[in-house]
């Protein structure tokens, strides 16, 4: 089989000519492509420095503060309050506001599913590698964050001090009070900023920015509420004004 592209008698059939002279620097002259630098040793040294900084900080913390250790485990004496590790305090706080299957299983599961699905909901390539993608994205994140910072602590506080669900117990079926009612309330709180964004004709990125910000800030608020603001009897207190000798920091 003969290969026409590389036929041996090119010299007879093909001719070459100078097409154009371009007066411009070649891409490689004087600067590397795309403003890059050698990763060895620059990045290696940066990583080494970061390692040292992390170890020094951890060492300082460990020399200053001892890890907590209480009495030996005793299944017969419940601690008050009994708290999960801090990163699960958001879940434990959720339990205070509705039926466990809704608050501690369904909602967290939906949240994890949403987080996993993010790159498939927003698969545009534009704005990758830029904080908040655009000025508008930055504003959306800021306003959504402020909204959640105001509404969620209010929800936690009001739902605890005016427990409508407890007062109406017996008058409405439990399923309505503990599942339908909190689910609707949560749906409205999370849905409201999405509705506002919807009217601004968002890109998929802006839609995802809104929903993620609501969920992330809510998760932080619920975690802080459970970890810092819940004292004996799992009642709400100021962290610096806990009754007895209880300090939320001892739970770390």
């Amino acid at each position: 089989m003969s290969n026409e592209s590389f036929s041996k008698d090119t010299s007879k059939t093909k001719t070459y000519s100078l097409v154009e002279l371009v007066k411009a620097p070649t891409t490689m002259t004087d600067h590397g492509p795309d403003n890059s630098i050698f990763s060895f040793p620059v990045v290696a040294i940066m990583e080494l420095l970061l390692t040292l900084i992390v170890i020094v900080l951890l060492m300082a913390m460990s020399l200053g503060v001892n890890a907590p250790l209480e009495e030996i485990a005793n299944p017969n004496t419940t601690t008050d309050p009994a708290k999960a590790p801090w990163y699960f305090m958001g879940l434990q706080e959720m339990l205070e506001h509705g039926h466990p299957t809704l608050m501690a299983v369904t909602m967290p599961a939906l949240m994890v599913l949403f987080v996993i699905a993010i790159p498939y909901l927003d698969n545009s390539r534009a704005g990758s590698g830029v904080w908040f993608t655009s000025k508008r994205g930055k504003r959306i994140t800021l306003y959504t964050g402020i909204y959640t910072l105001i509404v969620m602590p209010l929800y936690v506080y009001l739902d605890t001090t005016f427990p409508a669900r407890e007062l109406l117990r017996g008058q409405l079926p439990d399923f309505v009070l503990q599942t339908v009612f909190p689910a609707l309330l949560m749906g409205v709180i999370v849905g409201l900023p999405l509705l506002v964004i919807w009217r601004l004709k968002p890109t998929s990125r802006e839609f995802v920015l809104t929903l993620f910000t609501v969920l992330f800030v809510s998760a932080v608020i619920f975690t802080l509420a459970g970890f810092l603001f819940r004292g004996p009897g799992f009642e709400l207190y100021w962290p610096w004004n806990m009754p007895g000798h209880y300090s939320p920091w001892d739970n770390l």
């Binding site: 060895f40 890890a67 994140t141």
Partner: protein, 248 residues
Amino acid sequence: MQRIKDFIVNSRVWRSFFRHGWPDNPLDRSLVMTSNIFFHLHSVKVSRKSLRATYSFGLGIMSAIVFGVLSITGILLMFYYTPTVERAYSYIITLQTLVPFGQLLRNLHRWGAHLMVIVVVFHMVRVFYTGAYKPPREFNWVVGVVLLLLTLGASFTGYLLPWDQLAYWAITVGTSVAAYEPMMGSVIKATLLGGPEVGQEALTRFYALHIMVIPAGIALLTSLHMWRVRKDGGLAAQDAPDAEIVEE
């Protein structure tokens, strides 16, 4: 001196370690770079944009560093620990009072564990807000979410091991939430605890998960995660238009 160096560098043992000679000629100099394991992790040249501290805050690398610290301190802690209901607590007391630097070792592991959860969460938040999950990095985002869940699992299973009141009731509360899962709830709880309540079976299982299963999962997935970062074209920052840099 020169002859000794040449003898060592040209010996079969040295050459089995390093696939190149002394870097005094262009070929060996380039081989020093191209056959270096460091370049398994990073490309030879990286974009300045991806190195800006305010872009990534180094959070991904920091989580790997803290995981390293936790592995080393964890192995040392294993030397002084037995996961039995009768002895676990007294081993912790012994570690803190009699073992040289025992308290410091435990502190490093404890605070390191909290730091890792915080750093991994912040890493995810950073990747989200910089849009670094966008194609072609979708799958690596999913791997990252699984790594976050594994980090929580590692911390949670470790929480029980000191076998004090704090550990016992935290795990009792934490696992009781699992029971509310409508279909598999009781099965999940029974599988985790190995019985109706937190006891010896739970301690044994949590210990196995904490020192073996979860760290192995994290190590494997972290390798995949870092490999994919390179295969997907490095940090997303270098896809960003240059104007973003000028703006600062």
